[in-house]
């Protein structure tokens, strides 16, 4: 019960990664956080610490956050070595002080990965994900060109599975958790969402080939089946989707290799 434990405040030490820019050296700095209400969120604790730093004339800790309800994918802290902290199936912003004990030393780092260069302190640049999406993470349908929504029935189990994949919030915890910094879970989620739906079939091969090749080009590593990604995923997206991605990729590669390109693909009536 929230009310029951709200009176017992705790104090912790935050050991925070500070780095003023991508090319400056970084280091850990300890900050005390005293008399915390256990019902405070982890980010609210950082707000309070930052207000204290500001008043004391220090620079506050830069960290990414926005919706604070686990859906926008902005927040991205590695807490005690775990992307998004100790909880399962939640984002950093859904981590509460009640997950820690009085006297704990809590290590706070950014999401570390080669493809996510550091911007400042705990903020990283995750625009590589956008670039993968731009390469093929869509169904090409011009506004206004769609048929009636119910003209495309989708079996309920397929729709549900597509929704499981579509729940990805693009936070990058999967990459940060992976020893290879692989983005396979992220790519697999998008490829599977569209691959499971009839609307996504026309571009199925092109999509998977383009997204995987862009992913590789951006410096993400490969999957070696450790499943750290799905364990860290705030939406618990299953690594089974990676198997599906591999299947799609193989099929598309084979089809591409053995199917002659149609002559005059752009040939109109002129």
């Amino acid at each position: 019960m929230v009310a029951a434990n709200s009176s017992q405040s705790i104090s912790v030490t935050l050991r925070v990664w500070r780095q003023t820019g991508p090319f400056q050296p970084g280091r850990f700095v300890d900050y005390p956080a005293r008399d915390l209400n256990p019902n405070m969120s982890f980010l609210e604790m950082l707000d309070v610490v930052n207000d204290g730093l500001t008043v004391a004339g220090d620079e506050p800790i830069a960290f990414a956050h926005d919706c604070r309800e686990g859906i926008c994918g902005t927040c991205s802290l590695t807490i005690n070595g775990k992307p998004h902290g100790p909880g399962q199936g939640i984002a950093t912003c859904q981590t509460y002080v009640r997950s820690f004990k009085d006297g704990d030393i809590i290590v706070v780092e950014p999401f570390r990965a080669r493809a996510f260069p550091l911007v400042r302190d705990l903020v990283t640049d995750r625009s590589a994900f956008d670039k993968i999406q731009q390469a093929g993470g869509f169904i090409s349908v011009r506004t206004g060109a769609a048929p009636d929504a119910n003209s495309i029935p989708v079996p309920k189990p397929d729709a549900e599975l597509a929704m499981d994949a579509a729940a990805c919030i693009g936070c990058g915890a999967c990459v940060a958790a992976c020893k290879n910094s692989s983005a396979m879970l992220f790519v697999a989620a998008k490829v599977s969402q569209f691959g499971l739906l009839p609307q996504g079939q026309a571009e199925r091969d092109r999509r998977v080939l383009a997204m995987v090749s862009t992913m590789d080009g951006l410096g993400f590593g490969n999957c070696t089946n450790q499943y750290e990604c799905s364990a860290a995923c705030p939406k618990l997206i299953s690594h089974d989707f990676i198997a599906r991605l591999n299947r799609d990729y193989l099929t598309a590669s084979l089809r591409q290799a053995f199917t002659p390109a149609p002559a005059g693909a752009d040939g109109g009536a002129g």
Binding site: A3, E44, T54, Q94, G137, A145, P155, K156
Partner: protein, 640 residues
């Protein structure tokens, strides 16, 4: 003085949009690529507009302050999106959706706009399904629906409790496609800090790169703002922490009228406040009211008891009692005020007494826990994360919280503001929800504006602008605006005061909630109006903004936004004080019926109040656009 010509087409209501589309000017395909359009924001309205305009062949520049367009706060909308598909065969129609929305807005929206919204609602669902949005389905493979407040049909389409996320990712995928194809130039981490007006037309913006601090000037043939609402004036709200009013507020200070700023929506079902460190209130989707029953104890003495121990006879299901025909699905403003009333009577639940129970025990008996989990599982999870309580075992505790703003920049039927060339979409404009928005209508409006309205109407404006006639970003107007922005940044960093930005935001939020919140009186508003200017002065004299201008500096970003809230809050109170009536979300205690319902004054206030900036320290001018109801009779809303 601003001219407010709504440009509503003549003719029968149902023909206006069709007729208008055939009559407005077009830009020929070869000329479209000669026009540049700036879109600020990439939520539902911004992303859908940017993608669609690029598909048409315009050159689009899209600016977002987030690190990715997928982060916009549309993503957090939970419950659903309305559309008049009538797939349930329960008697829905475009007219019914139109009528429910007009009535839900307490007769303070334009008939023509709302009818158009209802018309294009059906196209939105088609579009989203074609994009691969995984809406909920029935076993036959066709789309499922649920009910939402203020309607007696099931017309809400949904994707579990993440409908906003899925619709936004659909629009984001369309936008990504056009970025990849070169049709949209995407600028992330880029915050608009001023609008540039040249010769009376909006022709560009000034932008700060949030990573490098660089200030850049961008010229265009038209500017579209889709930057969301301003509920963070209240500090605590269901908005994202970064949601802000800076783009629309600075456009206001450049001459765009701000319409009905006092129309704010307080959502009835949010998790109650727990402490003064709190940064954010979390919504529990209105869809929960389909199956959850709202109650408080009949007797004050029971309010601290374990709710499961309170017998049925001692519970007051007050919405079902007061509004038997809509019950727990009464519109948001009505449900919120009812919650406030029972808590004011001393019957509220929890430590603070500011909470009511949302109880699923009947639904669990009917559907089983698994059935409830399938419909609302993620919402129960959110509730558990925050409160460490299980909504399956104990009734949830909820309380109203600031959630949406119906007011916004004034726009005509073409979604163009009184400043030619400036278009405003989605929550940032004022147009479709009147004084109260119904659930599942915000997603509908954002996508309607972006996919199906502005792509047509922007052409009508551009056809009057010669291709290649846009000014150079080196024009004096651009230089002057950029200099002012740089000056403000330097000023903030130079104050070197004592208090962090957040303290001022909290104090403003408290003034606004107490004075201009769920219920307002002349006295509370006058008190707020007396308190805000000194707080603003104190802010500018003693705020502490550390760091420098040429790096990522989150304190500096917040300072600019809170500085704007400190001005906007005053305008909201002024608007609320002038509007001597109650309507929708604007409840003036002086104007109510004996049963506590809103008492509108159609004789004096059946109009849009569009405020016009008159310069710093000057009282803004209140312009009026009369609302003409030709097709619906204005009546007292009745949900009983």
């Amino acid at each position: 003085m601003a001219t407010l010509d709504s440009k509503i087409p003549s003719g029968p209501l149902a023909d206006k949009w069709r007729k208008h589309k055939t009559e407005i000017k077009l830009v020929n395909p070869a000329n479209k690529r000669k026009y540049e359009i700036i879109v600020v924001g990439a939520g539902l309205a911004g992303a859908s507009a940017a993608a669609t305009l690029a598909e048409l062949g315009y050159r689009v520049k899209n600016f977002v302050f987030h690190d990715s367009p997928r982060r916009a706060h549309s993503i957090a909308a939970q419950g659903g999106i309305n559309a008049a598909k009538n797939y349930q065969n329960d008697g829905d129609s475009v007219y019914r959706l139109f009528y429910d929305t007009i009535k839900g807005g307490d007769y303070r929206a334009r008939e023509a706009n709302v009818h158009r919204l209802a018309e294009v609602s059906v196209n939105i669902i088609d579009q989203c399904v074609a994009q691969g949005v995984p809406f909920a389905r029935e076993y036959g493979g066709l789309l499922a629906n649920r009910s939402f407040g203020g309607a007696q049909v099931s017309r809400t389409f949904y994707a579990r409790g993440q409908t906003g996320q899925q619709l936004l990712l659909g629009a984001y995928s369309a936008l990504s496609r056009m970025v990849g194809a070169g049709g949209v130039e995407l600028h992330t981490n880029s915050e608009m800090l001023d609008l540039v007006v040249v010769g009376g037309h909006a022709k560009g913006i000034i932008v700060r790169d949030l990573i490098t601090g660089e200030i850049t000037r961008h010229a265009a043939d038209a500017v579209i703002l889709a930057t969301g609402g301003y509920g963070n004036v209240f500090n605590l709200s269901t908005y994202a922490r970064q949601s802000n009013a800076t783009a629309i507020w600075r456009a206001y200070k450049r001459g765009a009228c701000f319409a009905n700023p006092c129309f704010t929506q307080i959502h009835p079902t949010c998790i109650p406040v727990s402490g003064d460190y709190q940064s954010k209130l979390t919504l529990m989707s209105e869809s929960l009211r389909n199956d959850g029953r709202i109650w408080v104890p009949k007797n004050k003495e029971d309010r601290r008891k374990d709710p499961n121990s309170i017998p049925e006879a001692d519970r007051d299901y007050y919405l079902e009692r007061m509004y038997p025909s809509f019950g727990n699905l009464a519109p948001r403003d009505i449900a919120s005020r009812a919650a406030k009333r029972v808590c004011d009577e001393g019957r509220g639940a929890g430590e603070s007494g500011l909470g009511v129970y949302l109880d699923f025990s009947d639904a669990i008996r009917r559907l089983g826990e698994a059935g409830v989990r399938e419909r609302y599982g993620n919402l129960f999870d959110i509730y558990h994360e925050i409160t460490a309580e299980s909504g399956y075992r104990t009734p949830m505790r909820i309380y109203p919280a600031v959630h949406y703003t119906m007011g916004g920049l004034w726009v005509d039927y073409n979604l163009m503001s009184n400043l030619p060339g400036l278009f405003v979409l989605g929550e940032a404009n004022f147009s479709d929800h009147g004084a109260n928005r119904l659930g599942a209508s915000a997603l509908m409006q954002g996508l309607a504006d972006g996919y199906f309205v502005v792509p047509y109407t922007v052409g009508d404006y551009l056809a009057s602008q010669k291709p290649g006639s846009r000014p150079s970003p080196d024009a004096p107007e651009f230089r002057e605006a950029a200099t002012a922005v740089t000056g403000q940044t330097a000023h903030f960093l130079g104050i070197n005061g004592r208090e962090p930005v957040s303290h001022f935001h909290k104090r403003l939020g408290k003034i606004m909630w107490d004075g201009c919140g769920m219920a307002r009186t002349a006295a509370t508003l006058q008190k707020a109006l007396a308190e805000i200017p000194p707080l603003r002065e104190e802010f500018w004299a003693s705020v502490k903004v550390p760091g420098s201008a040429d790096t990522l500096n989150q304190s500096l970003e917040q300072a600019g936004r809170v500085g704007d809230f400190l001005e906007l809050g005053e305008l909201m109170c002024r608007d609320a004080l002038t509007r001597e009536e109650s309507c929708g979300g604007h409840f003036r205690e002086e104007h109510q019926y004996p049963d506590g319902e809103c008492k509108r004054d159609d004789e004096h206030f059946a109009h849009v109040a569009a405020w016009e900036y008159q310069g710093a320290g000057q009282t803004p001018r209140r312009n009026i656009e009369p609302l003409q109801y030709e097709f619906v009779k204005m009546s007292v809303r009745n949900y009983k």
